[in-house]
Point group: C2
Chain length 316, copies 2
């Protein structure tokens, strides 16, 4: 039996997991990231987490064929260099080589969204599918693609950044500096922006009343208001679903995947949401039902990134 | 020296070319397609064109390692079956096997837009680039992607159909049945639609005057009016270029290619157009200049499809 280790480098925590050949997550260990302590501190912690997992499983490092690290930002996969990672304020750091040196185990790196997609592909919602796109809807809109038996993750780019594909040219400002990106309509941030605007002009709405009681609007309570029949919230959610359908149709027309997996905070909405988004997507797929992908909700939650990182050896 | 043959199956003509190992086009032969005469007739003609090319070059069929066919429509590359090709009214025909049987030469098939992209990649505008997207602007908007050393052409789909990625959700009707697709704004058909609308409301414009003289508006005369300073036409072309910039930014954010090549009728506009589209694209690329692709005009014209088909053996 051979094992791999996946490490998910997040803004808050570093999570490492030990994974077997069937991509079963056998054990996990975590520490606070503490980005301000810098590169050596963080890579030391990655090595310590690796040692912890090996120690608890009674394994020698020779039994682990590789470590995979999922990190935010853009990277050179061939050299293991992280070109930049906004939140960590790192530029051109040798992330892969440093962890490889500190652990004595071959180390690969990839973007964290790519790792999450790979996790759902090898062991989650798309485990039975030939190819897939993961679209995560949370504060922003993230994405990863697995096609032709490997991660679609071109060298020298951040792609696929499907949250920053235009949905309405010239539309709402996006965090990236453009206007009208998918993220400017299909993130919780966008939904909250629109709900606050709606609350401003409908003082009788549940949205406005929530706010009056001092509750900040968020993805969950906006969806809850819609489900309770609040017309203002329902209008927003209907529009959100309609635009999701247009966006996922475009994703399919561009990438031709056999399954689209919806992840992130919105995946908690479950099957009613999935079915409505599917119905909204179908008329937007080129050549319609012939090529329509399956639409699935993410199955692995936060473990997707760790499991996907552990699978990099085979799918990078 | 080994050779390959590329065949471009168009609605009007079938063009076959003999290509050497360096993707130089040594000879071409063509016949009318005559789609109405059916599958046997057309595949017989493909075999005859092959024999013509071999005869003129004094080659034996053993010196040709493969035939590649670029066809409109969707196909199963593994079996060589054309699933459908709208204009030919073919459904599930064994295009590859039929030509292979009639010629005795291994035959591969691919989408014609994919072949055009591959042609520009191996021997044209993107010959020095690591990866590329071809965007053809003509009656419609076509596309092909070469990434990671091969055609991005997922099985069981028409993708990449980048002309049918949303540019303005809910916008102008598209030929595909959706609204707001890139093709509904960035094709000559869309430009002509908008120019006719503009001519309706600006009777003094050069556009309206052209029409009054009985000239139908087309891509070329609309661009010419803009270059002559007609405000109505200039407004349209400015808007067209602005939307091209948004669209190509989205293509880059999705696919992360090192070069984007503009082909089709619009490529005749040349370098002033390329430079303006590049300037419009740059602010739409995620992480900006770090990852901006080169923007090039197609170099091979109609030969791209033949040369790319001849390269399928290596890049499919």
């Amino acid at each position: 039996m051979s094992y791999t280790i996946g490490i998910d480098l997040g803004g808050t925590n570093i999570v490492a997991g030990l994974v077997d050949e069937k991509y079963r997550l056998l054990d996990k260990a975590a520490v606070k990231t503490q980005a301000e302590k810098g590169f050596e501190y963080i890579t030391d912690n990655m090595a310590k987490l690796t040692a912890t997992l090996l120690g608890r499983a009674g394994l020698q490092k020779e039994q682990v064929s590789s470590i995979g690290i999922g990190s935010p930002g853009a990277m050179n996969k061939a050299t293991g260099t992280l070109i930049f990672a906004g939140n960590l304020d790192w530029h051109n750091v040798p992330l892969g080589p440093a962890v490889e040196k500190k652990t004595g185990i071959r180390t690969l790196i990839a973007n964290d969204a790519d790792c999450a997609a790979l996790g759902e592909f090898v062991a989650g919602a798309a485990a039975e599918d030939e190819s897939m796109a993961l679209i995560t809807i949370g504060t922003g809109v993230g994405s990863g693609i697995v096609s032709g038996g490997h991660l679609f993750s071109p060298a020298g780019s951040c792609a696929p950044e499907l949250g920053h594909v235009t949905l309405i040219a010239g539309g709402e400002p996006c965090t990236c500096g453009r206007r009208g990106c998918a993220e400017a309509y299909l993130s919780f941030s966008a939904l909250i922006r629109d709900a606050n605007r709606a609350a401003d002009v409908t003082p009788d709405s549940m949205l406005a009343q929530l706010r009056e009681r001092g509750e900040a609007l968020n993805g969950k309570n906006i969806f809850d208001c819609a489900k309770s029949g609040d017309p203002a919230a329902k209008g927003l959610v209907d529009r959100f679903i309609e635009l999701m359908g247009e966006f996922l149709g475009s994703v399919e027309n561009a990438f031709g995947v056999r399954a689209i997996v919806i992840g992130g905070g919105i995946s908690k909405e479950g099957d009613w949401f999935r079915r409505r988004v599917y119905d909204a997507m179908l008329p937007n797929v080129f050549a319609g039902e012939t090529f329509a992908p399956a639409l699935r909700m993410a199955a692995l939650g936060n473990d997707a990134g760790v499991i996907g990182a552990a699978a990099l050896e085979q799918y990078q």
